[in-house]
Symmetry: C2
Subunit: 234 residues, 2 copies
DNA sequence: AATGCAGGCCTTGCATGCAAGACTGATTGA
DNA sequence: TCAATCAGTCTTGCATGCAAGGCCTGCATT
């Protein structure tokens, strides 16, 4: 179902080549992919359903910029899904564990080679892959969508993206799964998510007014509300 | 985002007015809704992403008919999500509990009035509403999709749809939540899902060949595999 | 009578055309 | 000098047209 256009766009977004907030012109994409706007629109619509892009009527399509509210909810959702899956899943067999360890090896490689985009993808996909090796397609799809949104969230903030720490967490989770201790794996997953969320900084708004506002110590001026000229506390 | 067409179609499907396997013609829908095929196609595409309809190339759109494999996975996914949500959620406050109890009252009304379609909707939506009152939009969306698929699954099989038993389960779950015992609520939810799944019968295939196959004791002939002419054991 | 075959009808797939909203920049007026 | 307005240009929204593939029916053939 996911055609080439959707995949290309999603890959470009989660690998950071298309920054959050970037505009996506139907006409340009159509020309770039050598198809008509129709197919581009369909791909964009699918990505919209996944909350990866957003459309502003008559204005254009943009890579989504999840606000902190949405970020919190996505993390809460991930906690629920990952914890619930592990807590209710049957223990993995040796082959399933082997596939998870193969993934960990990939992570190691990407770290060793300093392949940043690949690493971003792998770190996020780890959680989806746990569900995938268990063979649950609906949950895998859910996890893939949530991790894509998580990557978008990270890209919007200055995340202290400690890949090594995350990788260590992953190793421990796989360890618990290998030991058949699913409850522990579930506990570790929540802990891991909490750590990642805690490492998230404030909104790094690509808003040209941000610097000015910061300098003048103005409130972020919620749109419409004419920021009631609050003088700096000098 | 969900336009009127998508809503109407989804409502018709989950209320059983559009049976699983029914064909949906773009042209007919376009005329019925008084719009062009474009908008119908977009709505169908969205429903396809939600696994509620499926398209067979150059053949047409059809209301999805989840097979038993998919059914099992959807139930597993629901167990994971609902258990995980309740197990990781903070206790509900009084207002949230009140909203759940209002839902239970709606269920009671529908039962009393024998309003079957409304009841189908309410019974499924109960679980999504638990997440909704907690304010988690991503999870709510996930639950709504999973329950829609669950309804489709029920419609495909002769489900011993004991609404009263389900309602009693719901009452007990809300009771646990009201008591602040989220762990118990989580446990009850899984139990409830197991009961619903257990009440599901075999595929009630609307396949005119089913009777013939049954008579001849042929395997369901997984497409492509020329069923190796197994003579009846006479 | 049964089987192979072709014409036609039905479906979607995709491109294109046209209209309308939203922003930008220049121009005009004070 | 500044502000307001209006034309121009971008964008998407939606309808429509045409092409291509699958299936069904009727016919010819064996």
């Amino acid at each position: 179902m996911p055609d080439g256009i959707e995949r290309s766009l999603l890959a470009a977004i989660v690998e950071g080549r298309l920054a959050p907030g970037a505009q996506l012109s139907e006409a340009q994409l159509a020309e770039a992919f050598g198809v008509s706007r129709t197919l581009v629109r369909e791909a964009l619509a699918r990505l919209q359903a996944r909350h990866v892009v957003a459309v502003r009527p008559r204005r254009g399509w943009f890579v989504a910029r999840p606000d902190s509210d949405e970020a919190a909810q996505v993390f809460a959702a991930r906690r629920a899904v990952e914890y619930g899956f592990l807590a209710t899943a049957r223990p993995f067999d040796a082959e399933q564990v082997a596939r998870l360890e193969a993934h960990l090896a990939e992570e190691r490689d990407a770290i060793a080679q300093g392949d940043k985009p690949r690493l971003t993808y792998l770190m996020g996909d780890f959680h989806a892959r746990i569900v995938a090796v268990a063979g649950n397609e609906p949950l895998t799809e859910i996890m893939r969508n949530l991790t894509a949104r998580t990557i978008l969230i990270s890209l919007c903030r200055q995340s202290s993206d400690d890949a090594l720490a995350s990788h260590r967490d992953h190793v421990r989770i796989v360890g618990a799964i290998a030991a058949g201790d699913m409850a522990e794996a579930a506990r570790l997953s929540v802990e891991h998510l909490d750590a990642v969320e805690a490492g998230l900084g404030r909104d790094t708004a690509p808003d040209p007014l941000a610097a000015l506002r910061d300098t003048l110590r103005l409130d972020p001026a919620p749109d419409g509300a004419a920021s009631s000229f609050a003088p700096s506390p000098l």
